[in-house]
Every structure is written in C-alpha cells, then in structure tokens.
Symmetry: C2
Subunit: 469 residues, 2 copies
DNA sequence: GGGTATTTGTCCGTATGTATG
DNA sequence: TCATACATACGGACAAATACC
C-alpha cells in the first residue's frame, strides 16, 4: 500500500516514486509484475494522473521499470542494480512466503475417522445440480441478503425430508441452517447462556462437541454410557439442565440408544425443564438395526433441539448442517439472534435444496448405505476371522468406524505403536474420555469410510501381524 | 418414518400397513405419490421384502394404492374413502404448510442499507469462475475435510492482497476464514473469554456487532465518537481491555479515523495490553479520500485483530469473511480451536481464490468503486440542490449510505413517517446508539447501494416534497 | 477467429505557488 | 513591484495494445 502525506517535505510524485522503488527492491513487486496503471493508481490515491505518471517516468528512467503502450509498466530484472542499504533492509516488509504442502509422514494404511469414500461421492450428479444452481442465481439474488435462517424453500424441503425419514414433525420456521456442528453448537451456547452454563454429555463422547462447549465457557458434566445409552441415574444426580447426546450412534461406541432410554431421557427433560441436544449426525448410516424414532419426534415441540448434517453422508467440505429448535428457543432466537445472517452461501443452499427436492438425496443415501455396509461387513468379517482371538469388536452399530479392544492386555498406546511399525495408522479412543483415568485404555478406533475394500483387506492383514501374540 | 416394534402384539407387516395407511390418510403421502419400493423399504426397515410386500398388498386390496410392474405403488384418490377418526386426528402430524413469500408492504423507493447493486455484480465472470472451480473439485476434495482455517492457497492469496492494498503484512498462517462478521466476532468472543468479558465500542456504532457481543455474554462499554474517531480519553477511563472499531468508515457516521487517532489507539493498546478489533468492512469503497494505513499495518503482529469481508464489495450471499490474528491469539486459537472446521464450503473458497489470484477481484473493486462513487455524488448533489436548506448531510465518507440531519427540527420519527407517506423508506439512526437518550434524534439513514440512478433521482424528489416546510 | 470496446502509455495544454532577477 | 522560469499537480485527446464477444 502506498501512503501519501500532503504535509511532507517531498512532493507527492516523489513519495510515490520512493515507495514503489522500495517495493521493487524488497521483492514485494517481483520482476515481471505490472505496476497499477496510472489511471487506477491515481484514482486510489486520489491524485492527478500526471502525478503518478511523473513517478513512473522517474522509475522508468532509472531502469526499475519499462513501459509499453497498451500493456503498462513492467518491473525489470534488477541484476546489478540492487544493493540493499541497511535502511532498505529495515523497511522491508515481512512478505509471507508461499506455503508448501505439509511433509507429514504418509502411512500406507490409514484407518482415519471422519473421511468418506471418494468412490461413493455422486460427483456427476453433484456437478450437474451445482451448475444448474449456479445458473439459477441472478444478480439480484447475489446482491441482497437472503433469508436469515436459510432459504425458506430449502427449510421447507428439509422439514418434509425430516418428517419422512426421521419422523421429525417440525415447521420450516423451526429450522436454522448452520455451517457444520461447530456453528450449530456455538449458536446454541449463546442461546442457552442465560439459562445455564452447565452441560451434561456422554462419557466417552465426541471430543469436538466437548471443545465447543468448553470454549463457550460451559462447564462439562460427564455422564457414563451403558449398553443402551446414557446412565439416566447419573444424569438425574448431575445438576445439568442441558444434555448433549448422540442417540442414533453414540460416539465412539456406536451404541444405539434404546427407545426406552429415549423415553426416560425425555421424561427427565420434562420433569426438570431440561433440554436435550440430539445430535443425529450419523443416523442415515444404519446397516442392520431398525430405525428408532428420533427423540424430537417423540417430544413434539418442546425440550429437544435436533441437529443434522450433510457432512457425513454427502460431503464434509460442503459445510451444511441444520438445527430444529423447540418453540421456546425459537422465540428467543428470533428475539436475540434475528439479525444473524445465515453462514451458508446461497449457492450451497440451492444445491442442497435441489438435491432433496429432486429425490437424488434419498437415492444417494440408499446407495451410500449399501456401499458402506459392504465395507463394514467385510471389515467385521476379516477381523473376526484373522484376529478373533486377539481383539474384541465394539461399535458394530457405528456408521463409519469400529472399535477394537485388545484381548491380550495390550494398551492403546502399544496397539497404535505396533500398528505404525507395520505401516498402519489406527487411532486412540482415550481422547474421547473427559476423565481418561476411569478408562480401561485398551481400545483403538478404525475408521473405514475412506478405504477401498482392498485397502481394508491389506490393512487388516497387517494389523493381524502387528498384534499377533 | 415407519416405526416397528418386535414385541408388539401385531405382526410386522400389519404395523407397516397401519402406519402407511395413516400417512396416506393424513396427507403426508399425497395422492399420486409413490411408496418406496419394496426392496428399499425392506432394507431401511431391516425386514424381509415379503413383509413389506404383504403390507403393500393389504393397502392395495383396500384401494389405498395401486401397483404397476416397473413403476411401483402409487397412492390413489381417497374420495369417499377417508373418514378421519378422532384417534386419527390426534395422531396427525403437524405437516408444515408450504411457505409463501412474505407479503410485506413494498415501498416504491427504499433507501435500504446493506444491499448492493445488481447491475454492478460481475455475474458472467462470477459464473465462469464458479463453474471452473466446480470442475476443479474432485471426489477426493469433497470427501475429505479441507484445511481447517481455510485452504492454504486462498489464505496466501489473501495475505498478498492485504499487503498490496491495505499494507497489512501478515502470513497466511495468521488468516482464518470465516462465514460473515457474526462468525468472526463469535469466534473472537470465544477466544477472549478467559481474558475479559468487557468490550468497548463506538457510540453510535454498528448494532450487528453489538448484538453478537451481548449474545456472547460480553458487557458493552460505549465510547463516544468525535470528528476524527473515537474519544480516546473516554476509552482511557473505561475499564475495557478490548475495543471494537470501524476506522476506515465509522458506522454509521462514515467518519474516517485519522492517522493520529490510529496511533493514539495503538498506543492505548500497547500500554494496557489491550486488543483492537479493526473491522475494515468497508475499506474498499473509498470515493475521494486517500487511503489511510490500517491500524494492523502500523501495529505489526500485536494488539490488533483485523477483519475483512467480501459481503460489501462483492456479494453478501457468498458468506465469506476473514480474520487476521496477532501471534498471541493465533497460538491460543491453535491450542483451543484447532479442531474447528472452516465454515466456508470448499467451492466458495476456490471461487474466491481464483477471483483474487486472477486479478479479477482488484479489477472488480475499481469498477464497483467508480459506479458507487457516481451514485454517491449524484445523491449528494441532488440533496444539496433540492434540500440544501432543510437537511444537513453527514457521513459523506461512508461507503454505501449517508446520513441526513433535519435543519427544521424534525425528529427522526417524523422524518421517517413523512417519507413513508410519500412512498419512500428511510431508516432510523437511533438504533445505532446504545443509549439513545444522549442522542439528538434528528437524523435518518439513506442506503443507496441497491438503487439505480433514476431511482435516486425520483426518491430524492419525493423526499424533498415530504420534508418541505 | 475476427471485429469491437476497453484499457493503457503518451503527449498536450493549463493552473498554481515559489524562487529569481 | 513586476516579469520570468521552474516545479508540481491536474485533466483531456490520441493511438497502440489488449480483452471480450
């Protein structure tokens, strides 16, 4: 940026000349780059055109730049011309160097969690719909703020989809579009601040959610998990008014909260004027079990916030999720947060809307489900066949990962290290515990969303070698 | 959603039959719609296909649906067939009605703030770049999480742009991509929570920012404005450690904070271990004045957070903004917020990146600036010509709006009401005061971004009539 | 791929303040 | 005091080069 001072001793054109010269010497303006045209620079600096021209001519006569009619002033090669003075060096701005790709060690087999399979992504359909959405956007659409909670049509389609597939009966009005779980939960924290700053959550549970609550100044109250969901007795004893749960597939155990537990949970909420945050992140990916009604579908318009996302079943880089608010919170939202603009770009909104209303979405879900089920079953089959003696499988119901517990007394760390030595990356489970000291510490997590079937076969083969007694 | 219970008295196929019947009667499945295929439904319900077929045959034999090989089961016309029982009515889900467009009163001339001109949006270029970005995205890109702070290339390009145009010397590493101002400020609130929960801000000032701070539990400390920026003496007396300012065009007055004030502000921050949040929302739109170096460019890597956006100069519905963090906050961010995913979709990131790196962005800025300057000058000219006696113009330096003060002693309310009677919408200024009782209450705000030149001519003509003595 | 609109450096005249004689 | 020269700053006209259909 060029900075001019009318009251300085040196004339304007000299100030311009000096500062551009510095930038050339410093490399901010590299060889071959074009100076801004005299007209443009004169406009941004609010000076006459000839003032800029004068500065440029000076630069030109000293050989820093050359000019050509129609194409501008070009910075020249400075071989032999530059000899940085000390003063010059001090003035040199820190130009951030061009970033390089990180040289992280690549393991041949990485059972990473959270990634999806590129093979299953409906690239062509997505491109088609996106490009249709692209041409549907007019200049008017793009120069005005769209509906603050997200486009009405999209929220209406979402409400229809939720009713059909998850039994959630809500109006479009209750739906708020969000940019990922972080956004949704942060917003919720802001909404709840005056009610409480304590939150009960599953132990173990999703560390991402835990971070968000902590960062928003909430106190965490861990509640243990049993084989059909949250230990309600612990919840009763905790002083929380809000609880965050992942009932469709408890993270990381994959436990499906039973319908009885769901009713008990709801009962707790009704009795205590409590709020259940139902994160249904994974619900679309069911392989064996029947769908259990979502908690919000039993509760009606009270006591439950429902959160869904497109990150798991479609694409994590779209950054679209949504929240269904109960009436009380919705009123509060309208009152205090009515001015918040949606964080989702209009283009993405149109794409998602078209995906749902055209039926591609449900179609895609079915296909994806089948594909992941195949991988899931293969994984389970291979493990029980080659490692049935040395590990126990947990979380068979989870969507895109499973847990393995060592039957040989290996610790988490040992399992991970041994796997690494064989070129396989498996991941810790202890991080999901708020108080890891209560944890047996002998499990690892294997995500399989991103692996091909041959990858799975190879990976498991190596794991079996790594862990064999 | 269909909900099955193995322990129930009725067999599975009956449960399916009953529930689909209900959905048909309730209208959730309207006439003409297709039932899911037996294969699909059996898969999602985890029952055998014959079970579903049995249920469908029952429905078919009772006339609710008809079937055709190859095309599925279609819901029939229910004339004379439906007689809702009381029980049925109770079970009827609240189906959200299709939303209609809001029937708000449309004023012929709306000087609304925050909107841009559709004529100035580079629709073709944007479409071209978007569709290019679309085809650049691979299935791999879309099935993995991208860089958490935003793609590195984009942040690098942003850092280069900031250096050139605003003198901000920062590394790509310091930049965090955000989805609008709300997201950026909310994140900042979370970052600052353990340092302070008090924030000083301009009085009057941008109400949007104020709301966000309040919603995040921050206490607001208003600091008055004088003709070259914040009253530093008031700031000194306030107990705040953090201050939010809009120095390039103070909102709503359009006051440009002088370089002296900027240095004083920075001095305050250095002495008090304070933090300046510099919201540069409008800086690209300068019409007459010379650019003044941004505060962060004077401060270096300490005491200042810089916030920029693409909402004002490009499009508010793209939802892309960014933050430059000083080293201390950056370290904290990496530690506590490292897991947060960026809220901006990969597609939008690619579009913005291409826009900047191809040079279209700076090109567009120049054009936009010229176009808005034309409108701005026209507006000022018309007002001083037709209403020079009855109003005083403030905020000539603001980007997309001006303020008018009544010289006849009209109150804000009177000015707005009289304008409405002539079909013109102008907007209150009092809302931007935290304590409106200290405010003279005789100004209105006119946004002109969205108006054509003929709109402006007509609107001002009517305003002159409305307010004439 | 060829014609047109826009962008660009270049050249021109003009105005103002200041130093010189 | 006046005339002159010079440095600085500003805006318009023109032809070459480039960008856009």
């Amino acid at each position: 940026m060029i900075n001019l001072d009318n009251n300085a001793d040196s004339p304007l054109y000299m100030q311009i000349y000096e500062q551009i010269k510095q930038e050339i010497i410093n490399g901010v303006l590299p060889e071959g780059s074009r100076l801004p045209s005299t007209r443009h620079l004169s406009q941004t600096l609010a000076v006459g055109r000839n003032t800029v021209e004068n500065a440029y001519l000076q630069l030109s006569s000293e050989g820093y730049v050359t000019s050509r009619v129609g194409s501008g002033f070009i910075v020249q090669n400075l071989n032999g011309l530059t000899y940085l003075t000390n003063e010059d060096k001090c003035n040199k701005p820190i130009k951030s160097s061009r970033p390089e790709s990180k040289p992280s060690i690549v393991y041949p087999h990485n059972f990473q969690f959270g990634l999806l399979s590129a093979q299953n992504f409906p690239l062509n359909i997505w491109r088609k719909i996106s490009s249709r959405a692209l041409s549907s956007l007019t200049a008017e659409d793009l120069t005005t703020y769209c509906d603050k909670k997200g486009e009405l049509e999209l929220r209406y389609n979402l409400s229809e989809y939720l009713l059909k597939s998850r039994g959630v009966s809500c109006s479009a009005n209750q739906i708020i579009l969000c940019a990922g779980l972080e956004y949704a939960l942060s917003l919720l924290c802001q909404l709840l601040r005056n009610k409480t700053t304590q939150i009960a959550l599953e132990e173990p549970g999703y560390i991402g959610a835990r971070n968000i609550f902590t960062n928003n100044g909430f106190q965490l109250l861990p509640v243990h998990i049993e084989n059909d969901g949250l230990k309600i007795s612990e919840l009763e004893n905790a002083s929380a008014k809000v609880v965050y749960v992942t009932p469709s597939h408890q993270f990381p155990n994959g436990i499906v909260t039973s319908i009885q537990k769901r009713l008990l949970l709801l009962d707790w909420a009704k009795r205590n004027d409590g709020l259940i945050i139902e994160d249904d992140y994974d619900s679309e990916l069911r392989y064996n079990s029947r769908p259990i009604p979502s908690i919000i579908s039993i509760a009606g318009n009270e006591n439950v916030v429902y959160i869904g996302t497109f990150s798991k079943a479609l694409s994590p880089s779209l950054r679209v999720s949504y929240m269904v608010l109960p009436q009380k919170l919705l009123d509060l939202y309208h009152k205090e947060f009515g001015m918040y603009q949606t964080p989702v770009s209009l283009l993405e909104q149109r794409v998602i809307q078209e995906l749902i209303s055209s039926g591609y979405w449900e179609n895609h879900l079915r296909k994806t489900c089948v594909a992941y089920k195949k991988k899931h079953d293969l994984l389970i089959h291979l493990i029980s066949e080659t490692m049935g003696r040395i590990v126990k499988i947990h979380g068979k119901n989870a969507g895109l990962h499973i847990l393995l517990e060592s039957s040989q007394g290996l610790t988490e760390r040992e399992m991970i290290e041994r796997a690494k030595e064989h070129g396989v990356l498996v991941h810790p489970v202890s991080t999901f515990w708020l108080n890891p000291e209560n944890y047996s510490n002998n499990m690892v997590l294997l995500g399989f969303g991103n692996l091909s079937e041959t990858d799975i076969v190879e990976g498991i083969k190596k794991l079996a070698q790594a862990w064999k007694a």
